[in-house]
Structure formats: structure tokens, C-alpha cells
Symmetry: C2
Subunit: 471 residues, 2 copies
């Protein structure tokens, strides 16, 4: 009953499975402890179903605008919300099944149940005692639901319930205009639901650049009502819910609460690690090794509350899983930050965000997509992109955007920031024509001119016999 | 009447205007000689109207597939081809107007008429003699129309005429499955025209990778008939045209001839430069300085027949315009090759193409988009992408693809190739989730595993006190 392992992994979500992959390379004497569902947050209730719903909403929205291309009949298009949700679940179930197959193989290495720390190397799972030389906490997170919203009962949804609905009501309030709130509110509005969004902050979707935020808010407001800057609270009015925020209010049949997620580290005896926790109840750890305060304990994924993004959870699982079976942990360079919100136009923050930079030390290059050629051809000419470059080094440090196909521009910028390129070096790549990347080039050239390189060519000079090599 | 200039630029298209911008920085004593239309090939009859038409066709095609998302009414959508073409011309006219404004300002520096070389530094324009210390040839190109097709008269269109049509007939043949032929044939088919495409080669759209080409042909063939590998020829049958190619034939009301473009250097006394021309009648030049064979004459843009792409024409204009006013030409590094064809999925060739590589010296990484998660969510899960990496250096050399949102993946790859990154270095960037770039990552990981780095992490190790720094 009681066994001793080299490594115990608590949680079989994205981070836990990523850790598992590395742990197995070093030892067969490991155990995976999981409570409740198998399948990851990402596949079950996160990235996968949300983006599937969003793609349906984008497709419908584009089609409603078909008239501007010289086509007719768009007024006859109708959304069948139950059918849209069935498709979301059908695809979602396929993504989840991919995960479950992996965990099924693992049966002899698995324990079902909730793990509690008794000591840094001893866990209790029900009656069982699990001793492990190293333990990885990969317990994920759950939606934050303040009690006034929880009191709405079945009229309150979170991302855990949203995709399980057979249908959706005609009026919904979305509480929280962060990444999930912004993208889902827009998608629901595009599917024909009367949506009102509430955000306690003036900034939405993780943006910190005031100009980009203003554009993003304006573009979303053109599609649904948004009240920002005041905390929202619900009042039940018979069958309906009235959501108040300052002087504003809106009536809804159901409310989607999107107020962020909290790490699942609160019911696992984390206090028995014998170290001080931060205000979120999370133990201190080194983000480059994922080790908790010199203990034989590692943390990864949403549980760390560090970067609750799938690709970061996989990296953290990788790092924890690489280090746990080894005597001494190794330190890894984390990737350049990249956060994408799947609104349309797409919102993204790449590298250093505006708020982390000192305006005296940077120049800002900008492009407004309203007159960008390719964006006009595709009738998606909305949005603003701003790039931040360091005055002293000419290096590109980051960008914020609300831009057509922003997710792709964000990846291009992420590579440039990751490789520590200067603005001029990035301008040295080919930009085809006519493409949205030419909009990014406009922003880069704007930055280059402010860096004092206005007359400098994008092309590099080369050395050769018989020609002056300059620069 | 006869004047002597520092620089004469022949042609006011994209390359000529790009050259002009640089020449003006060095001298006011220049002249721009232009025959016929003002406005560039790109804006008038090339990139701009074609991509505007293609965006309409893509929008319509996506909407016809709305049922797969759980929406109804798509069967009632109709294309109004005259309206689609009017929109193309309306946007096109706006793009051209942007160009004309620039050339209007230039009136006192302009001569209207056809320039002919009398000597390397003397041009005839009608009765006028223009002496110039340096001359830039930027005369562009025109569609190739073999005489058997020209004989069809108004039933034969090229890209010069296509966008001027009030409407289009119900059956069209497209002759030539290069970049323009492939993308326009697909667009016309999506707009409801019965299209048959003919290509004399088995490869389409500039692809050289047999696997990618096979996928691209199959995907296009699912939308319209394509006959490859045989030269096509027309036979007039009363009101109709029958196009024969080997044992295949198809009937059409009009034919679009897309057999490439020839440089406009054949009626300008080019023989009076006193140098041997290549088989296309183009004088030899150095692509890094754009100078013609040691003469005080430069060439740029489609006229050079080097890389008939807008972004390359601008670079060549820049180089020629930079060098012409100076005593000694400077040599520039050209950008990494990038060719995009706006089919859907998008076709692209980045860096070194398959055919330029020795298979023994490379590994090939591959991804099939049919099961890629994000592509499935957006119902665009078709296509193949292959990356080529050098065995000896692990460097990414190039890629060919027919992939969803291929143009964006192509730019990301172009930056990587331009910066001479290894596959591992490119894998070090963040890949968000769920995005199409994860498909590219699959191909990169495939290549990395063949380079012997299967177990290597994407994350870099970092040095720090107290941890083993490895790698």
C-alpha cells in the first residue's frame, strides 16, 4: 500500500503530462496522482473549445459582411446555437480523447485521489502514504467565482460549464474583460446573443498600451456593450439578472463569470512544506528551474500562477520533469513572453509590454491598419499595432497590438525579440506584397526613423571586390 | 530641347519610382521618361486587383462552407460578378491614384514618350536627345501572348484586361498554372465560373517539391479541372473555344492567358549598348549592384527579368537609384528569396527551393495540416509544409508549402532563413496554442529529430550559480 518512488507527479493536466514525458526518460519508479477528471484544462474547458467556438463566430461574422465584396444572400444566414455547441463538443471530445489515451497507458503508474503534503517528501492520498524523493505539483487551476456570483446558481456559468450548454439564452452578461472574457464576449455577440461586457479595469485583454487598448475597446464596443472601470455586481430580478457597475446596468438571462483562475494549491497541505507562501497561497519558486525554495519539490503549469498559458505550462512541466529525477536542478532560459487573445482583430502582447518599459528609453513605432492595403482588400482594415525599441541598442523589445491576423504578426515579432534583433535587422527580411506584414513593416520603419535611421536602407551592404563596402 | 542630366530613369512603375526616391536624395538634375500609362503594373493590373478579386473569392468560398460550423442559409448566397469586379476596380483605382499623385508632382522632371538608346549615355525620345551620365532601365514587363492565343481576339484575356471586364462568362480556360494562373483560376472557380486550367509542366505555382506540388494540385483539382504536362492550344468552334492539351480538351467562352511576362527591353535600342544580350534579350547585370556589364547603365524591376516580384522590384529600384548618382556602385546583399502564391491554402517557397538543394545534404521536416488542431477548428485543415535543413550545420535553408495561412508561415520562415537560424534556434521561440504555427513547429521538430536532436529540448539552458550549465 505504501510505496516509495523516485518522483511523484500530482496532476495529469498539460503540465503534469509534460513533466511525465521527461521523468520517464530517467526513471521507471514514478507515480502520477490525479484527482477527478482526466484530460487537460486546455483540451476540456480552455483553449480548445473556446477557440472552436470563436472560429465559428468569426466565420459567421465574416459571412454577414459578404455584401461588401459584391455578394448577396447574407441576410438569410442563420446561427443554430445548439448545433454550434454540438460541433464544439464533438471537436473538443476528440482533443480530450487524445489526452486520455496517453493517461490510460499509464494505469500501473497512477493513483486516483487527492494528494496532500504531510512533509516535503511524503504525500497522503486517502489512507495511502506516498513517499517520493521528488514531487512535482501540477495541479492546475480553477475559475475564480466570488460568492455573489456563485449565488446565481445555474444562471451563472464559467468556462467549465459554458461549452456544456445545450443552448444559450438571448441575453448574456460577461463579467471580466480579460483574455477569456473579451474573446468569448465577442464570439457570443457575433453568434447573435445580446452581450454586455463588464470589466473592473479600463484595460482589456491584458493590454497595457493605452493607445492599443483604446482601439481594442472601440472595436469591440462596435459589436457589443462594454462597461469598464467599475466592479460589477448582480441583482436577481425574477427570471432575470440585472448586473450593476457604477451607474451602468444591464439585464441578462445568464452570466458568464470570467474573472481569472486560481491555482489549485489550497487544499493539499501546502503549508506542510514549511515555507512562507505568497498572497495567492503559492509557494516561492525559481521560474528557471521550477524548484520550490530549495526543497525537493517542483511546481509547473497553472498551479505556479506564473504564466497560465498552455505553451508555458508545457515548458514548466518540461523543466520540472527534467530536473526532478536529477540530483541537481538545471536552470533553463524561458522563452520570450507571448500572449494572444483570440478576438478579431487579434490582440497580442509580445516581449516586454508597454507598462514594463520606461518611455524615455524607448521609441514607439506605430501602424494603423485602417488604410493598410491588404487589410482593405479583405475588408478587415481595423486595428493598431505598436512596437517598442530600445533607444540605446536599436533592439526590438516588445509590441502590443489589436490587428488583423494579429496572432501571426505576434509570432513573427516574438521570433525577432527572442533573437534580440534590432529594428533594422528585422527590416532586412523580405516583406511580400500585398500582405499584412507590410503593416508591421510600416510600424518598424516608423520606429527606425525615430531611432535616427530614417535614411538608412532596409538592405544590407555587402563586401565585394570593386565596390565600396560601407556601413 | 536637348538636355544633359545626371540620371535618367526610363519607366515610372514600381522599380522606377523606387529608384527615383533614391536619385532625388543625390541630385535635382534627373529626368523620368515614361511611355503610356502612369501607375504601376502592381497597382493597375497585378498584385492589387488580383488579390482584391481573390479575397472576394475566398470570402465567398468560406461562407459556402458555413454549414460545417453549425450555421444555415449558405445555400442562398449568390455572387454578383459584375459587382465583384466593380469593387475590384474601385479599390484598384484608389491604389493607382496613390501612385499618380507621386508622378504628378514630378511633372517638370518628366518626359512622356518612348526612350531608345543611341549610346550608353544618349537616349532618343521622339525628336529629343537626352544625355545622361547614368541611365536606369525600369521599363517593366508585359504578358506573354503566343500568336495562336492572340488570334482569339477579344475572347482572349490577359491580366491587363481581366479586371476591366464588366462581367465574366460561365466557362473559362486558364492557360498557364504558374503563380497568377493558379491563384486566379481558383478564384474564378470559387466565384462560380466553370474553370479548366492548363499547365505545360507537372509543377504548378512555382513549386518544385514533388510532395508539396502533389498536394497543391490535388487541393486545386478538388475545385476545378486541371490538365498538366501538355502544351495547350485553342481551336475556335463557332461561339466557343475548345482548348486541347494532349488527349484532354475543354470548352470555354473566354480564355485567360497566364503564360508569364516578358521584360520590356525589346524596342528600346538595347543593342546600342554594345553588349551581348541573353536569350531573353536582357543585358547581363550584377544583381547586387544592378549595374549592366560595367556600363553607366542600371536595370531594375521586371525589366531585369531577375525576380519579377514587387518587393524585389522595389529593392532593385532602390539599389539602382542608390548607385546611379554615385561615382562607384556599391554592392548590396539581396534578401532571402520569398515567393507567395495567393491560392487557398496558400502556396509559398521560402529561401532555397527543393530543386536547388542536394537531397544528400539536407533533412526534410514535414507537417500535414489535415489533423492540425487549429486548422480543424477553422475548417481549413488541408495542406502540406516541408522545411529543408542542412545536415552539416543544422541551419534552416528553405521551405515549400501549400498550407492554411501559408503566407504568414512563409514570413516567419523567411525571417529564420534570413537570420541563418538553425532548426533548434527557431524552435526556441514561443509557439502559442492553439495556432497554425504549431503545425510549422511539428515540421521543425520532425527535421530536428532527423538531425539527431530528437531528445534535445526546445528550451535553452542558462548559466547560473548553483546549477549545472550544460549544452
Amino acid at each position: 500500500m505504501n510505496r516509495s518512488y523516485d518522483v511523484a507527479i500530482i496532476g495529469s493536466g498539460s503540465a503534469g503530462l509534460s513533466a511525465l514525458r521527461e521523468v520517464r526518460k530517467q526513471t521507471d519508479n514514478f507515480v502520477l496522482i490525479n484527482d477527478g477528471f482526466y484530460g487537460t484544462t486546455c483540451a476540456r474547458v480552455g483553449c480548445m473549445p473556446s477557440k472552436t467556438l470563436i472560429e465559428a463566430a468569426i466565420a459567421f461574422h465574416r459571412c454577414k459582411a459578404l455584401g461588401s465584396f459584391g455578394m448577396g444572400g447574407a441576410e438569410g444566414l442563420v446561427v443554430d446555437i445548439p448545433a454550434v455547441l454540438r460541433r464544439v463538443r464533438r471537436l473538443r471530445d476528440g482533443f480530450v480523447a487524445g489526452m486520455l489515451k496517453l493517461t490510460d497507458e499509464m494505469k500501473e503508474h497512477s493513483i486516483a485521489g487527492r494528494a496532500r503534503f504531510l512533509e516535503p517528501q511524503i504525500l497522503a492520498v486517502g489512507e495511502r502514504r506516498v513517499h517520493a524523493k521528488k514531487i512535482i505539483i501540477a495541479t492546475g487551476s480553477r475559475p475564480v467565482v466570488p460568492k455573489e456570483w456563485a449565488a446565481l446558481g445555474t444562471r451563472m456559468l464559467t468556462s467549465d460549464d459554458l461549452f456544456e450548454q445545450e443552448t444559450l439564452p438571448s441575453r448574456m452578461a460577461v463579467i471580466g474583460m480579460g483574455a477569456l472574457g473579451s474573446e468569448i464576449a465577442q464570439a457570443l455577440a457575433r453568434l447573435g446573443i445580446e452581450v454586455t461586457g463588464f470589466g473592473s479595469d479600463e484595460h482589456i485583454a491584458g493590454l497595457s498600451d493605452p493607445d492599443v487598448n483604446r482601439q481594442a475597446v472601440a472595436l469591440l464596443r462596435a459589436e457589443f456593450a462594454i462597461h469598464l472601470g467599475q466592479a460589477a455586481e448582480p441583482v436577481i430580478e425574477g427570471e432575470r439578472i440585472r448586473v450593476h457597475a457604477g451607474n451602468e446596468s444591464a439585464v441578462a438571462d445568464k452570466v458568464l463569470v470570467a474573472l481569472g483562475r486560481r491555482p489549485n494549491v489550497d487544499q493539499m497541505g501546502i503549508e506542510n512544506l514549511g515555507i512562507e507562501l505568497d498572497k495567492h497561497g503559492v509557494p516561492p519558486f525559481d521560474a528557471r528551474s521550477m524548484q520550490i525554495a530549495g526543497l525537493p519539490v517542483y511546481i509547473a503549469g497553472d498551479a505556479s500562477r506564473h504564466l497560465p498559458l498552455l505553451h508555458e505550462a508545457l515548458d514548466e512541466g518540461y523543466i520540472a520533469g527534467y530536473n526532478a529525477p536529477r540530483n541537481e536542478p538545471v536552470c533553463f532560459e524561458r522563452r520570450v513572453p507571448l500572449a494572444i487573445v483570440f478576438t478579431d482583430p487579434g490582440i497580442a502582447v509580445v516581449g516586454q509590454s508597454f507598462k514594463t518599459l520606461n518611455e524615455d528609453e524607448i521609441v514607439i513605432g506605430e501602424v494603423d491598419f485602417s488604410s493598410q492595403a491588404r487589410a482593405r482588400m479583405a475588408e478587415v482594415n481595423h486595428g493598431l499595432l505598436r512596437v517598442y525599441a530600445e533607444r540605446s541598442s536599436d533592439r526590438l523589445l516588445g509590441a502590443e497590438m489589436c490587428a488583423p491576423q494579429g496572432e501571426h504578426l505576434a509570432h513573427l515579432l516574438a521570433l525577432a525579440v527572442q533573437r534580440k534583433l534590432t529594428v533594422r535587422e528585422l527590416l532586412g527580411m523580405p516583406f511580400y506584397h500585398p500582405v499584412l506584414e507590410e503593416g508591421l513593416r510600416t510600424a518598424l520603419r516608423d520606429a527606425a526613423s525615430k531611432l535616427g535611421g530614417a535614411a538608412a536602407p532596409d538592405l544590407g551592404y555587402c563586401d565585394r571586390m570593386g565596390a565600396d563596402a560601407i556601413d
